[in-house]
């Protein structure tokens, strides 16, 4: 940041003076750009209210929050709520469900867009590429509610097309939605269906930076098509892939909570209850909302996510030589 600031200090007003860095002091430079700060004012106010105020409000995790005393007035209780969570019988089940669901999701939805992008890049027929792309990223624009609605309709035990199809082979109707064994597959593969095409865009962008000369040189050297994908295209994608992987690992504790909540029902809770849905229920569904306890669990989740992000980034910097920061 410091070097960036120094780079363009010269004042335009006093033209003939030899251009030197630091012709203006920090305060003068800030005054010169007061209009830029003015522009930033509104976004910063928004950030303060809707991003940083909640972070401050998270201290209720260390208090016994009640409505009358407010955040400041409530009594400090230290780590009581965290201890209660770690010791509760829910703890390991929630952690396991959250990690398994997101781990599985990552395993499927991380490589698929890369494969799609490589495939699209390999195909040269313009109309074909265009149509495949158009089709595969359309689901990105469909809402979570509608996607879950689609699933509900398609797997309906009586009228759903899935069970009618299975019926052709004499396989009896399967109750997919109420079966805990099916929940993860349903969640992960519908996510793949919805995001594959859109996520491929960023890799396609990376692939456009590969110069045709590289391919031509490889061809002259006798490289086959597959070899060129492996040795020319894949390395071009790698930096982007590493960064996306780090981000994904950082958010491993916060799975697509809205969709989980929509797909959830009392019968599949065994695999579908994750940290976020549990927090939601404690705070908004239960008869007596336990704001402090719920906030503690939420904070626990955020902190683990942050730690994972830092660890993933450090590992990536050491081994893959590209990183977020």
């Amino acid at each position: 940041m410091a070097t960036e600031m120094l780079e363009r200090a010269p004042a335009a007003t006093t033209a003939p003076r030899p251009v030197r860095k630091h012709t203006l002091g920090l305060r003068a430079r800030m005054r010169k750009h007061w209009q830029l700060y003015l522009m930033l004012a509104l976004p910063l106010v928004w950030l303060a209210i809707f991003a940083y105020w909640p972070m401050y409000g998270a201290i209720i995790a260390f208090k016994d929050y009640n409505v009358i005393d407010g955040i400041l007035g409530s009594r400090w209780v230290g780590l009581k709520h965290f201890e209660r969570f770690v010791e509760s019988y829910q703890f390991w089940r929630l952690i396991k469900n959250t990690l398994v669901l997101h781990g599985y999701e990552l395993l499927v939805t991380f490589p698929l867009p890369i494969i799609l992008a490589l495939g699209l890049n390999l195909a040269r027929r313009r109309w074909y590429r265009r149509s495949v792309q158009m089709i595969t990223y359309a689901p990105h624009f469909i809402s979570t509610v509608v996607v879950v609605g689609l699933i509900v309709v398609l797997v309906d035990p009586n009228t759903g097309v899935l069970n009618q199809f299975l019926g052709l082979f004499g396989v009896g109707p399967i109750e997919v939605l109420s079966n805990p064994d099916w929940f993860r597959h349903l969640y992960v593969w519908s996510a793949a269906w919805q995001t594959m095409g859109f996520s491929a865009i960023i890799y396609l962008a990376a692939l456009t930076s590969v110069s045709p000369e590289q391919h031509e040189a490889a061809i002259v050297d006798g490289a086959s098509r597959l070899r060129r994908v492996w040795h020319v295209d894949l390395p071009a994608i790698r930096p982007v892939a590493v960064i996306l992987l780090i981000l994904n690992i950082g958010s491993i504790m916060s799975v697509g909570f809205e969709k989980v909540l929509l797909l959830q029902n009392p019968l599949n809770l065994q695999t579908s209850e994750v940290i976020d849905t549990y927090v939601y229920k404690l705070g908004f569904v239960s008869q007596i909302p336990q704001f402090s306890y719920a906030a503690a669990i939420g904070l626990f989740r955020s902190l683990v996510g942050l730690v994972l992000l830092v660890v993933a980034n450090t590992l990536a910097r050491r081994f893959a030589k590209s990183s977020l920061w």
Partner: protein, 312 residues
């Protein structure tokens, strides 16, 4: 469309110089690739086509499994019954308001944040950027967010749908990168010498040059608003404020058709029969608006999103 920045796209099959003969293995790879891409597309397309066909079919034909690709026994019955259901029509209207209002506000905030942050000569830029970036990695969580919305008096107002999600830091980063790569820094300096201040420069030079990224932002924010339901679930209690998605959740996911929402009893009986059918047509109706907008902004959007994400 994705190779627009690279070498001019070639219709012919590869970079192969004419003299080099294609090997058999290469041809097989190519055929496999085209097949795989085709299968991918079919897998994505099939559920959509099925739902569309089912929505336009006679209910009994859908129940009996006769519909699997094309509509059987054309019928618009279920679409008609949608308009008898008050919640849906009202929800549709609310969603339009939230999507337009939210997109305008959010885009304005994003542009205001992104431009100053794209200027390298802004003292303290690193610190401010850090404030933005940190919120991408850490947040207060569900309960503290709710308490803030409660405290600011937004609970159960239309503002609760628009304000808390008014800015996505990710979009700020993409927009900032766009400014950095398309607006030369010297231009601002030159304008300053001509007596144009920063605000004037932003208004008269930057904005006119940024139509693609403005379109991208409007589209992203509008679609996000259109599709959101969870904020409505926790922040809104008055039914007349509910967005479409929340109403859909009741009908599609929870399979609740609220009798008080239906105008007469005959309607209710018919509704029971139509209920399955209603789901298909609802899916179609709810999906149309975002899908309609997107081809219009698509060319901007692929370009803008790519420029932004690549160098971000």
């Amino acid at each position: 469309m994705t190779t627009t920045q690279a070498a001019p796209e070639r219709e012919s099959d590869d970079y192969l110089p004419a003299a080099v003969k294609e090997t058999r293995a290469d041809r097989i790879v190519l055929v496999c690739n085209y097949t795989a891409l085709g299968l991918f597309s079919l897998a994505v397309l099939y559920p959509l086509v099925y739902v569309l066909s089912a929505a336009f079919s006679e209910p009994k034909n859908v129940q009996s499994g006769e519909v699997w690709l094309w509509p059987v026994g054309l019928s618009l019955e279920s679409f008609r019954s949608i308009f008898d259901y008050d919640g849906i029509v009202r929800g549709f209207g609310n969603s339009v308001v939230y999507a337009i209002g939210g997109a305008l506000l959010a885009t304005a905030l994003t542009l205001l944040a992104a431009y100053p942050l794209s200027r390298r000569d802004l003292p303290g830029k690193g610190l401010i950027l850090g404030l933005f970036l940190f919120t991408m990695m850490f947040n207060g969580g569900l309960i503290p967010n709710y308490l803030v919305v409660d405290r600011t008096g937004l609970l159960d107002t239309r503002w609760a749908m628009i304000l808390p999600t008014a800015m996505a830091v990710w979009n700020v980063i993409i927009t900032r990168t766009y400014f950095q790569t398309t607006i030369p820094e010297d231009l601002a300096e030159a304008a300053r010498m001509d007596g144009c201040n920063d605000l004037g420069f932003f208004w008269r030079v930057v904005l006119p040059l940024s139509k693609p990224i403005i379109a991208v932002n409007l589209l992203f924010y509008a679609v996000a608003q259109w599709n959101s339901w969870f904020n409505a679930l926790i922040y809104l209690t008055s039914e007349h404020l509910f967005p479409l998605q929340l109403v859909l959740r009741q009908i599609l996911v929870q399979s609740n058709v609220d009798p008080s929402q239906v105008r007469d009893v005959a309607e209710l009986v018919r509704m029971k029969e139509l209920q399955e059918q209603l789901k298909f047509s609802l899916i179609v109706i709810a999906t149309i608006p975002p899908l309609l907008i997107y081809p219009f902004v698509q060319k901007h959007f692929v370009k803008g999103a790519m420029v932004g994400s690549l160098k971000g």
